[in-house]
Symmetry: none
Subunit: 202 residues, 4 copies
Amino acid sequence: MTLKGADGRILSSKGERTRGRLIEAAEQVFADLGYHDASIVKITEAAGVGQGTFYLYFSSKKEIFDELVRDLNRRVRHAMKEASAQGGTRLEAELLGFAAYFRFTSEHTALYRIIRQAEFVSPEMLHYHYDRLSEGYVEALQEATAAGEAGAIDPEVTAWALMGMGELIGMRWILWNEQRELPRRVVNELERIVRCVLEPPG
Amino acid sequence: MTLKGADGRILSSKGERTRGRLIEAAEQVFADLGYHDASIVKITEAAGVGQGTFYLYFSSKKEIFDELVRDLNRRVRHAMKEASAQGGTRLEAELLGFAAYFRFTSEHTALYRIIRQAEFVSPEMLHYHYDRLSEGYVEALQEATAAGEAGAIDPEVTAWALMGMGELIGMRWILWNEQRELPRRVVNELERIVRCVLEPPG
Amino acid sequence: MTLKGADGRILSSKGERTRGRLIEAAEQVFADLGYHDASIVKITEAAGVGQGTFYLYFSSKKEIFDELVRDLNRRVRHAMKEASAQGGTRLEAELLGFAAYFRFTSEHTALYRIIRQAEFVSPEMLHYHYDRLSEGYVEALQEATAAGEAGAIDPEVTAWALMGMGELIGMRWILWNEQRELPRRVVNELERIVRCVLEPPG
Amino acid sequence: MTLKGADGRILSSKGERTRGRLIEAAEQVFADLGYHDASIVKITEAAGVGQGTFYLYFSSKKEIFDELVRDLNRRVRHAMKEASAQGGTRLEAELLGFAAYFRFTSEHTALYRIIRQAEFVSPEMLHYHYDRLSEGYVEALQEATAAGEAGAIDPEVTAWALMGMGELIGMRWILWNEQRELPRRVVNELERIVRCVLEPPG
DNA sequence: AATGAATGAGAGTTCATTCAT
DNA sequence: TATGAATGAACTCTCATTCAT
């Protein structure tokens, strides 16, 4: 995909680099300070560019926020997909996906911290994020049911239930504890829950 | 409990009324606009008092935010406890508690919308809220286990998992759909999940 | 007329004083620097108030500009009317009106300097100013004709012609020369022209 | 006259073309938006050249403004001279000159709109414009007097009076009405006034 | 207990100008 | 001769907080 500047022009490779620096800086600054305390100056300083440069790539603070949400969303889904593809059974796949999610969380605290702000900053991106993420769960659950590895469950509701578990458990044991991984006992319990939620028939 | 003003003095009954009006107004304004777009002027206008009056009761914008979180937290826990006390079995109790939670959510959208802002506005209140809420779940789960109505589960992890489900399902089907109740199929599926999470032995 | 703040509230006498200080400061700053180089900070500094205070009385830079135009317009018309009332004949009245106009010009260079900017800053005030000013001329000319002291002239066209003369002669010999009065020879010539423009019959 | 770039070098014919395109674009953009809202980007976009190209021909925004004023001034004087040369008598010549002025005004609204901005943008060009324009009037009036076609008038004062009439009448009936010509009644009245201002002896 | 005028730091954003290509 | 990415000073405007009344 060719990246574009704030005025719609296609970016040179130098432009892409600058834009990338800004997104990276924004991830950091938003994660540290939150949307409101993160100022354009702080972002451009962190990116090592001038204030005006920002507006060559994004037309407003909200725009880089939205872009960042899209970016993080794409990456977390990618990481989860990659990981779950390694699983032999559906259950394994699901648990590996969760693990990837927690790993991503620990490396990109921005994801959590930013999404929760989107409520007022950019409601459309809040929906976008959860909808996209839930799609991944739904697909996996449908396949599992089709393959006879999960019971007659409602994939959508179950997807949101699983997302919710992941979200709060990630917040509690990854973010708050500043850990890279869940404690053993949490992993075990989570496995139990996921197993019974999938409820393989018989 | 005797309420106090910003300077620690005990409030007259007139004072209590004014303070109450401010908290109510804050709930509305924070819920509608979010913490940052909610200005003190808008809160005082909504409360029908002068700007300066605000500082007789709260020493800062953050203080009324914290107070409001405490208030909502107290009320939602109360509502859940009341409801679950009506349940004959633990499962029933749990489901009634959830129902009360969703009802409260629909009547006080501020709860969701404010909590999600707390990440940066007042991290300590974020913890406070989820910790207190999870305690209710933990207690119930422990009792259930003791009564033989739940399996050998880890109550803390399970509590956070249940909170997470409630949070995202409430967001998806109550808040986003602007409904007072969950759709039938969601209730059914949720019941299935909760039942298996409790995993009554045998 | 009761003065109002930016939010429509009626001003206390203290408020009126502050507002007056701002208008005075704006006249000075606009006259010295022009609309675009005049910043809110410079105006508030000149008025001796804080930056935020400005917005209690005017909602934008343009609003104080418009108000100032209205104010100057009112005053220059008043000055001209007062002066011309002293004239015995219509010709005398007209000349005294002109003299008052030039005097006002020398004391309020803002009038000239600002009006010429209104073209883009506030076109509606540009019209307002010239329309209102021309009305004064038109009335006087109609009365003169009715009284047999002026010929069968088209009062509107003549009014704009007289305004134009006044404007450029004032610019050339008052503003550019930084004089309080026109040189004798200019006065004489102007008298000749006005006399023949009025063209008393016979 | 050989045209020069911003650094004083003599322009190639290609360079002259580019420079011409910039001046044309500037006339349009300044006329539409005024000096301050007209940005270099908008001018270069309208001219179809890159931003940096601008500075090969003009060293600043003000410089192209000054150049444009000179250009318009030259052209309006030329148009007036051409036209008045067709007149048999001085009066006819004067009226034809006026007509040409109004025609030019309708075709180059930039003249008015730009000049009125010069007050603060470039005071020296404001003087330049009116001085040069008045010279034309003065010469004509002197010739008329010498030829016995005008009375013993003060040519300079009369020149500025005539310029003023033309300016406001042009603004009122050409610019504001967006007409190409003055209405008949205005022409008639203007003729009356000019005739009496020239005051041919006898 | 209540008021609201006043404050000023700091926000997002624009744009004339420079310069490496 | 031409380009356009980069700059940063300066702008308008907001709002939590103070304080004299």
